[in-house]
C-alpha cells in the first residue's frame, strides 16, 4: 500500500494498462509530454513513447472518432477529454457510434476497448465551462457504461475495471478531489466491479445516495444528522450505467427513506431515474417521498457557486424534512 492522491491512483491504473498491452494508447489534448492539464498522464509518454502517449489536435469529435477506430481495430484506446464540459463536440461519436457499434453490426465489430476519461464537477471556481456534471445525457444511451469514483482507491480499481470491460465506458473523474482526496492505494493491479453500489456506512433511518465528489457532502450531512439523533445509511452508487437497483432498494426497504444528491441540475438529472425506479420497487416501504438535493436548473455559476451547490447543509435540511414528514 502507498499513500496516493486521486491523480496518482489514475496514473497508476494507466501505467499498468500500458505495460500489460503494447498496443494500448493514451491520447487527448495536452496529455503527452506535459502529462495533461491536471497531470494524470504524467511521465507516461517518457515511459511508453510518443507513438503510444500523444497530444491530439484540438478536436474532441476527432479524439472520439479516432478512439472508436482504434478500439475497433482492437487496441485499448484510452481517450482523455480535458473537461467534461468539452465533451459535447464528441457527443455524436459517443452516442451514435461508440454506443451502437456492436448492436448495429450484429457483433461483427465493437469498441469494447474504448475508455473515455474526463474530469467533471465543480468546486474549482471554474464557472459555466469547467464545472459541469453531464452524466445524465449519457445515461440515456444504451450501449454505454458510466462510472464515477469517490476516492483514490476506488479510482484505480474502477478505472482498471473500465479498461478491462468489453464495452465503451465513460469514467468521470471528480476533479475537485484530484489532489484533495488522499488515501491508501495498493501499488499492484486490482479491479472493483462495475455496476455495484457500495454501502459505505450502515444506518437505519434514512438512505443517502450519491456518487463521486458528492459522497463527502452526504457524509458531512450524515454527521450532522447523527448529532441530531438520525441514523443515515450512506451509499456510493459508483456506476450510473448500469446501476445497482438491488442494493439501493434493499437499503430503502430497511430505512423507508431515500435522499439522492448530485451536483448536476435537478430536472432530468440521474436522481430522477433513481427516484422513479425506487418508488416502484419500494412503494409500500416508503415513509416519506423520495427527495433530491441537486444543483439548480441554471448553468453552473461562478460568484454564486456556494449558493448553487447541493452542500451538506442542504442535504441535512432534506434529512430533517424526510424524517419529520
Amino acid at each position: 500500500m502507498a499513500k496516493m492522491n486521486m491523480l496518482h491512483a489514475i496514473n497508476s491504473a494507466l501505467d499498468i494498462t500500458m505495460a500489460e498491452n503494447n498496443q494500448a494508447c493514451i491520447f487527448g489534448e495536452d496529455v503527452g509530454h506535459f502529462g495533461g492539464v491536471f497531470r494524470a498522464t504524467s511521465g507516461l509518454q517518457e515511459k511508453y513513447g510518443k507513438h503510444r502517449v500523444f497530444n491530439t489536435p484540438l478536436t474532441e469529435q476527432g479524439i472520439l472518432g479516432f478512439a472508436n477506430g482504434l478500439a475497433a481495430f482492437g487496441a485499448p484506446a484510452l481517450a482523455e477529454i480535458q473537461f467534461a464540459d468539452y465533451i459535447f463536440p464528441a457527443f455524436d461519436q459517443i452516442v451514435n457510434e461508440s454506443a451502437k457499434f456492436r448492436y448495429r453490426s450484429g457483433n461483427e465489430f465493437d469498441v469494447g476497448n474504448l475508455t473515455i476519461r474526463t474530469p467533471y464537477g465543480g468546486g474549482i471556481a471554474g464557472g459555466l465551462y469547467h464545472s459541469q456534471s453531464p452524466e445524465a445525457y449519457f445515461a440515456h444511451t444504451p450501449g454505454l457504461k458510466l462510472v464515477v469514483p469517490r476516492n483514490p482507491h476506488q479510482a484505480k480499481g474502477l478505472l482498471r475495471a473500465c479498461i478491462k470491460d468489453d464495452n465503451p465506458v465513460i469514467f468521470f473523474e471528480p476533479k475537485r478531489l484530484y489532489r484533495a482526496s488522499i488515501g491508501e492505494v495498493p501499488e499492484e493491479d486490482y479491479t472493483i466491479e462495475i455496476g455495484k453500489a457500495e454501502v459505505v456506512k450502515e444506518g437505519s433511518d434514512v438512505t443517502l445516495l450519491a456518487w463521486g465528489a458528492q459522497m463527502e457532502i452526504i457524509e458531512q450531512a450524515a454527521e450532522k444528522a447523527q448529532e441530531a439523533g438520525v441514523s443515515c445509511e450512506i451509499i456510493d452508487l459508483r456506476s450510473i450505467l448500469p446501476w445497482d437497483v438491488e442494493t439501493i432498494a434493499k437499503s430503502v426497504v430497511k430505512t423507508g427513506r431515500l435522499i439522492i444528491s448530485h451536483e448536476a441540475p435537478i430536472t432530468n438529472g440521474f436522481g430522477a431515474e433513481i427516484a422513479a425506479t425506487i418508488q416502484e420497487a419500494c412503494f409500500l416501504h416508503l415513509e416519506s417521498p423520495i427527495m433530491r438535493v441537486c444543483g439548480l436548473d441554471t448553468p453552473y455559476p461562478l460568484a454564486l457557486e456556494k449558493e448553487y451547490v447541493p452542500d451538506a447543509l442542504k442535504v441535512f435540511a432534506a434529512i430533517k424534512k424526510s424524517v419529520e414528514f
Binding site: C25, G69, F73, D92, G106, E108, D110
Partner: protein
C-alpha cells in the same frame, strides 16, 4: 532556426493575397470514351484476373441495383440505394487494395463489398433484414458489414467513419513503429480506405479525421466521391473551393483528383496512393469525379432539383461500358459470353430475392443482444417482461410470438 508556428519560412515584402482558387487541380484520365488509352496516359499495372473481377463486380452491382430498385417499387424491400454512375470509382479503388485492407464506407459502396466476395445471399439477407443477416436485422437496407471481409458496418450518420478510419489505420501502423526511435521499422502491411461523399466532407468529422491523419501519420486513403449531389443539394451549394482535393493541401496531405468514370485512372491512382501510404506511413486524399446517375435513394426524386438535359448529358457516359470497351480491345472479354452471363446473373438475383424474402425475421432475443457484450440487469428484466407480454398477446406479435422459449 526554430519554427514554432509550423509554417513555410518564406518572407515577402509585397502585399499580395493568395487567390482562393490558386490551385489548378487536374483530373487524371487514362481511358477514352471508346476504351482507348489516351495519348500521354499510361495504363496501370493490372493483370487479366483483376481486370475481369473488376468488370464482373461492376456488372453484378448494376444488375443488383436495377433489380432491387424495382423490388423497392414493388414494396418488397423498404429502401434501396443505387451505385449508378459510380461503379468504376468504387470497384476499381477496392480492386487496387489488398483483401485484408480495411474498408470504411459511407453507404453507396456495395461494389467494394461485392469485390471482396460478399455473396448474393448475404446481400439479400441484409436487404430483407431476415434472421440470416449478419447485422441481425437491425439496420435499414444497404447498411452492410462483414468482419471477415474487413468491411466496417455502415452507419447512417454522415462522416463519422472519417476520423474512425484515422484511428483504425493508426492501429494498423502501431506494430510497425520502432519503440526506441518512433520511426517505421517495416513496411505497413495493411491500411484503411475511407469513402465519403462531397456532402459529407462538410461535416466536422471530415476536418477532424483528415487533420488527425496528417498529424499522426496514419496510413489511410481518403476517397472522396464527388458525385455532384448530396441528396438534392448541388456541389456549388456545398462548398466554394476547388472540389474536395484543394483541401488536402491545407492538411498537408498528398492529393490526387481522378475521373471516377475511368476504372483505369481510379485503379492507377489508388494503387500509387496505397504504395505511398504503406511505405511512408501517411494519409493520401483521392477525389473521384463522377455523376450520381440515379436518385440519392428510393425515397428521393431528382426531377425536382435537376434537369432532364443534365441527366442526359451524363447518361451516355457509362463507366462500365467504358471499361468493357477496353477489355474487348485487350481481347479479355467476349461480348456474347458477357450477355449470356448477364442473363444468368439476373436469374440468380431474382431467385436469391425469392429465397431471402421468405426467411423469417430475427428472434426476439436479438432485440436485446449486443447492446452490451452481456445484457445488463435492467435490460434483462425488460426482456423478461416483454416476453411475458407477448405470450399473453401472441396474435399482436406474429413475427416473434411463436418462437419465444
Amino acid at each position: 532556426m526554430t519554427n514554432p508556428n509550423n509554417i513555410s519560412l518564406n518572407i515577402s515584402h509585397a502585399l499580395k493575397f493568395i487567390d482562393s482558387h490558386a490551385l489548378d487541380i487536374p483530373t487524371l484520365t487514362i481511358l477514352g470514351e471508346n476504351g482507348e488509352v489516351l495519348e500521354g496516359a499510361a495504363a496501370p499495372d493490372i493483370d487479366k484476373d483483376t481486370a475481369i473481377n473488376l468488370y464482373s463486380t461492376m456488372r453484378f452491382i448494376r444488375l443488383l441495383d436495377e433489380r432491387m430498385q424495382a423490388a423497392q417499387r414493388q414494396g418488397r424491400v423498404s429502401f434501396y440505394m443505387q451505385c449508378l454512375g459510380e461503379e468504376a470509382a468504387i470497384t476499381a479503388s477496392a480492386a487496387a487494395l489488398k483483401p485484408e485492407d480495411m474498408i470504411m464506407a459511407q453507404y453507396r459502396e456495395q461494389a467494394a463489398l461485392a469485390y471482396r466476395g460478399f455473396t448474393l445471399e448475404q446481400f439479400m439477407n441484409q436487404l430483407f433484414s431476415n434472421e440470416k443477416d449478419l447485422g441481425k436485422g437491425r439496420q435499414m437496407p444497404v447498411h452492410y458489414g462483414s468482419n471477415e471481409l474487413h468491411y466496417l458496418t455502415i452507419s447512417s450518420p454522415l462522416g463519422t467513419q472519417i476520423p474512425q478510419a484515422t484511428g483504425y489505420a493508426y492501429g494498423q501502423k502501431l506494430k510497425h513503429i520502432d519503440p526506441a526511435t518512433g520511426e517505421l521499422n517495416s513496411e505497413i502491411d495493411n491500411l484503411t480506405i475511407c469513402y465519403f461523399g462531397e456532402g459529407a466532407a462538410s461535416e466536422g468529422d471530415f476536418h477532424a479525421g483528415l487533420n488527425m491523419a496528417a498529424v499522426h501519420e496514419a496510413p489511410v486513403l481518403f476517397f472522396a466521391r464527388n458525385n455532384g449531389y448530396a441528396i438534392s443539394t448541388p456541389a456549388d451549394e456545398q462548398f466554394k473551393g476547388d472540389g474536395i482535393a484543394s483541401r488536402g493541401v491545407g492538411y498537408g496531405i498528398k492529393t490526387i483528383r481522378v475521373d471516377g468514370g475511368d476504372a483505369l485512372a481510379v485503379f492507377a491512382a489508388t494503387q500509387a496512393a496505397r504504395k505511398m501510404a504503406v511505405e511512408n506511413g501517411e494519409p493520401v486524399l483521392i477525389e473521384s469525379i463522377a455523376y450520381r446517375l440515379g436518385a440519392h435513394s428510393t425515397s428521393d426524386d431528382p426531377s425536382g432539383y435537376r434537369s432532364k438535359e443534365e441527366e442526359a448529358e451524363f447518361k451516355g457516359n457509362c463507366p462500365i461500358e467504358r471499361f468493357k470497351k477496353w477489355l474487348l480491345k485487350q481481347g479479355w472479354l467476349n461480348e456474347q459470353e458477357d450477355e449470356a452471363e448477364k442473363d444468368k446473373i439476373r436469374e440468380d438475383i431474382l431467385a436469391a430475392l425469392k429465397v431471402a424474402e421468405k426467411v423469417q425475421k430475427p428472434a426476439l432475443e436479438e432485440l436485446v443482444s449486443d447492446v452490451y457484450d452481456q445484457p445488463i440487469p435492467a435490460l434483462q428484466k425488460q426482456y423478461e417482461e416483454l416476453k411475458e407480454h407477448i405470450k399473453q398477446h401472441p396474435e399482436a406479435y406474429p413475427v416473434t410470438a411463436g418462437r419465444i422459449k
